[in-house]
Assembly symmetry: C2
Homo-oligomer: 242 residues x 2
Amino acid sequence: MIYELYYWPGIQGRGEFVRLTLEEAGAEYVDIALLPEAQGGGVPAMLKLLDDPGLARAPFAPPFLKAGRRLIGQTANILLFLGPRLALVPRDSGGRLWAHQLQLTLGDFVLEIHDTHHPIGGGLYYEAQKAAARRRSREFLAQRLPKFLGYFERVIECNPDSEKWLAAKQLTYVDLSMAQVIAGLHYAFPKASRKALRACPRLRALHDAVLSRPRIKRYVASGRRLAFNNDDIFRRYPELDG
Amino acid sequence: MIYELYYWPGIQGRGEFVRLTLEEAGAEYVDIALLPEAQGGGVPAMLKLLDDPGLARAPFAPPFLKAGRRLIGQTANILLFLGPRLALVPRDSGGRLWAHQLQLTLGDFVLEIHDTHHPIGGGLYYEAQKAAARRRSREFLAQRLPKFLGYFERVIECNPDSEKWLAAKQLTYVDLSMAQVIAGLHYAFPKASRKALRACPRLRALHDAVLSRPRIKRYVASGRRLAFNNDDIFRRYPELDG
């Protein structure tokens, strides 16, 4: 099975949570929007599916994944589907639900991180909502960042099957996503997140362990992993960093 | 099986998506936080689980559901679990993933509706973020509301198995949630949502069809369904209604 991933070019975005899972598993996939248009790729290939008025089971927004005849949208839903196929989640239904629950909570965290720079709306430039962004970031860094990080730190601490991973005895796709969020926080809020992560030794170790996985290292070294940048979910605006 | 639902008293909130599913199925459940403290209920019973430092698989926030020995958090995840057990989702894995994908998109919609009145942070009063709320609502009503409603209208239109439901030939838990969102929009934005729903005859019909289901009617008539109010996700602030 060669998976087809559809996501906006130029940013890691939510597509990166799917990519990290595919990369860690060594799965074959094509990043459709990164292919030349002449080869049937690019943004037009993605929009063709998104805007097809007659398509049953159309996704609302990227990322979405084509797996054979299935078309699957919503990041956490894609990982729910891929997890068992790529052996990156426990096999029992309780373990799968638990991993998914954590992934959904990470998704909530990611949206709150995004909204620090876009509290008024995604359709407006950052410059048009700077004052609100400053207030929202202050709230986020004071209340939400320690709450989310503290929660995930405790999840590792209370995992009866592992001292280093979130959801199971072995690494799962949730660990990959968690490491990506920590990397993104380091980029966006270098000061505030270093401070907040002081209380989270398990999360710091998880981040390092994920980034040391041979396949993840190879992926990063390949140049295929885009750099964080200020068109993305995680943005570095020094004025927002506490 | 008697399910135990844990959610904040006094509001419908995200708990209501779970309640509607349990009610439509005629499932037995106890709303723990609505029980008297003397009977082991109330908010303390809920916080006892949330704040238990040693609890493995602890939820991040309400609602969460106890089903035998399982403890399940995240609204969409609870419905993913309940759907097949209560026969409110198709049996095949493709149908279940599709229903879940729609539920996650509804969850995104609900969060954007919530953030119209709390764009800066949930920890601050509405009065402390009124100007930002006005701007966010304007953006939401102009861009996001028609986009989300248009998407779900198209989903019904493109459903090959039904002319009235979103995800399958029969009613699923997603239809119950969709009807709840439409009811909430009518409460929060009576002017703007009436206008936006003019272009969505299928969604209007779905809302009416759900509210006419015998068990849902009985639930509403029982007095157990709380009224919408301004401590909840959907809030009526006339100054935000377009």
